[in-house]
Symmetry: C2
Subunit: 480 residues, 2 copies
Amino acid sequence: MGKQDVGITVSKKEDFSEWYTQVVLKAKLADYAPVKGLIVLRPDGYSIWESLRSTFDKKFARNGIRNGFLPILIPESLLGKEQKHFAGFNPEVFWVTHSGTNEIGDRLALRPTSETLAYTLYSKWIQSWRDLPLKINFWNTALRAEIKATKPFLRTSEFLWQEGHTVHSTKEEAEKEVLKILEIYKNTVEEELAIPVITGKKSEKEKFVGAEYTTTMESIMPDGKALQMGTSHFLAQNFSKPFEVKFADKDNVEHFAWQTSWGVSWRLIGAMIMAHGDDKGLVLPPKVAPMQVVVVPIYKNAEDGEKVISKVDEILDSLEQKSIRVHVDNREGLSPGFKFNDWELKGVPLRIEIGPKDIENQSMVVAKRYNLEKIKLNLNEIEKIPDILDEIQIEMLEKAKSESKDNTKNITDYEEFKEKIEDGGFFNSPWCGKLECEDKIKEETGAEIRVIPFNSEDNTKKCVYCKEPSVSIPIFARGY
Amino acid sequence: MGKQDVGITVSKKEDFSEWYTQVVLKAKLADYAPVKGLIVLRPDGYSIWESLRSTFDKKFARNGIRNGFLPILIPESLLGKEQKHFAGFNPEVFWVTHSGTNEIGDRLALRPTSETLAYTLYSKWIQSWRDLPLKINFWNTALRAEIKATKPFLRTSEFLWQEGHTVHSTKEEAEKEVLKILEIYKNTVEEELAIPVITGKKSEKEKFVGAEYTTTMESIMPDGKALQMGTSHFLAQNFSKPFEVKFADKDNVEHFAWQTSWGVSWRLIGAMIMAHGDDKGLVLPPKVAPMQVVVVPIYKNAEDGEKVISKVDEILDSLEQKSIRVHVDNREGLSPGFKFNDWELKGVPLRIEIGPKDIENQSMVVAKRYNLEKIKLNLNEIEKIPDILDEIQIEMLEKAKSESKDNTKNITDYEEFKEKIEDGGFFNSPWCGKLECEDKIKEETGAEIRVIPFNSEDNTKKCVYCKEPSVSIPIFARGY
């Protein structure tokens, strides 16, 4: 393979879509499966998911949420029990019709989401107020047949996600849970993946089928398209009634329960790739990087080699003691330049280079992946590496915030809206609250309401479309 | 609900099968899903799986194995590429024939196991000796339609498992890996679940379709039936040839690689329930128990309550500081007796009872679940709890070993074999090595060769069936 084939061959700016696919494949995060629309995660890709899972698990546990397991097959009759919900997923459902050579009577759906299955069980498990709140999360996959072109992590027919399903005795408690989860989502994405998000509600048109309302977090990607990063739904009693999720209160009177459901998927990994990657490849935030530091020993003869390797071993020990995920690249027959490119492609946050001259000077070169900056540290400054990683994590979020800001515009004039939408971005534009205007804008520009940010109510402006008085200033954008 | 309904209503000895099902359901480990043959894991059941996963992950990582993700759908054409393998699974495969209303050309199988899919990818990922060994594990589910009656954890049409797939440049290295994994399996099951296992090889008849040989670990359950606890297969080049898993060696010559695959499933949880449970319900080994200690405060009036609760809080703090998973049962309106039964049903390893008298005497009652022993400890002996839990873990394994020994017989006479097989158990019986005898024994007694233990070669005895000279002394048993 020539160098051309190994590295990224297009620029992020010029061909974002091809750039993205190359980064995913060449950094060995994922690969295509034999079935169209499905992907496989290689260890470096899956490790990022494991890191997110572990962070969410800790936060969920602190919030009294435990994990469970649901099977993947749902009978058609059950899926159809909440009609609106079913209609929303129907065209995307994979159907199992045979086991071996036997035809199955009631066809089985591969779960597009598990509300219907979970709530069938919840209705058995919940009898009294003592059983509430019931808060269970499921780490599994969902299957939704994609007809459009697929993109690893962003649009695939099977995707890894978590789906949480909680049940409460009061409306207030359920609504509080919806927001609590959205807050966990937001701080995890910002702190772990260094991607800023905007939280708020979906419009009636864009909400989850079956929810009373949907809260969402949205991000703007460098190509100007919006990405939905996670949603938390207030289901009210929309499912508890058809599925009979009822409880006897302390006074022994039976009530329908109040429910929530919420999920994030591996789409978050796609967002991370898009937000931080550059023309050299992947750029990983230190907190989720499978490997945080790579050490490249540089030497030409055996004598130098011995000195360098012995120092590198010290560095390795010292970093491992600090629980830094570190790797020494001692592959033979590959040049330092090749190795540098290789680890840059894979997005390792810090690279330490060390050769005989460095040892003479008691120094080492430390290269930061995210801004390609190189600094010289004294060998005894190895203690500083954890702090440098923390700083990188923070600086990456700041950088992403500033890019996100550059990609956000206040637009009140519809002509300007139509013109500028071609360049993408988040548009803060006043809206009258009517579906009609929302539909027209979508039809004419391809932009939809991504999120109505919390506290964006505003009746002093005029709707960007109809010029009637506004009710809020949602964020419009074209989306993934 | 009367007490009858809440607790276990049959004895383990008299109706093992019904006892087992009641324990699973009433201890709230699992429940039936709406589709026959599928189950759901409730948080206490899933937590045991998470604990096992975490232990295996640590051991796999130390052995250079990383995790990945594979999709659940495999095209029929791919599954059929290794013919013997395909034939083995064909009657059990669930087939997806439609997505939405569209018929799918090449039907899609829900993975019964992922060799064919993984190796299609491995053949792309592996080019040179530098890429080897490649060792990836996948935590997912497998789907195999069960026609026989299903049993939670033991026989279900979808089950949680891990499947590991490794590729090596030499036969020796691959064979070493097979045994290394079997060793990890054995010590995890013995140390975490307190169940003794016997390791060795499967006979040709019983090996995994497509493997050159299968190594296995087997346990004998209290009802006298054998349970396969995990298998590790040497695949030789049986898959690398049809799937073209090849590598260029240092001399640039291409070779077919050597492969292994291996797996354990949630069947291990079933084994744990059977091995340790009693007529009061579940008995959990401390290492995998979601809750290791439950504290039940006992008092009648508010004044006593205050004293007791304050002491209980101290105990809670002290145990949490020692990373013990502890819970205080302060449910109101339930009697201590009800609570004791409830936690015994759920198998919590240690219960601490504490009332006003105990506080006066500076003591507490500590009840061990596995042998129902109660001891009195001084309140300042709370430090001892972690050690007591460790002792229980060891004693449970000893107890299970002794039961397993009682259930193992040396049988050389076929009449005795036929008579005693009705009571179940592991039979050490000499065998000539011929399929014919193995088939006849299975046909006439229902017993099969579960495992040919390592170092059980013996040519000094006579085959239990044909009386020809033996080659080994396998373990025969009827199995799950």
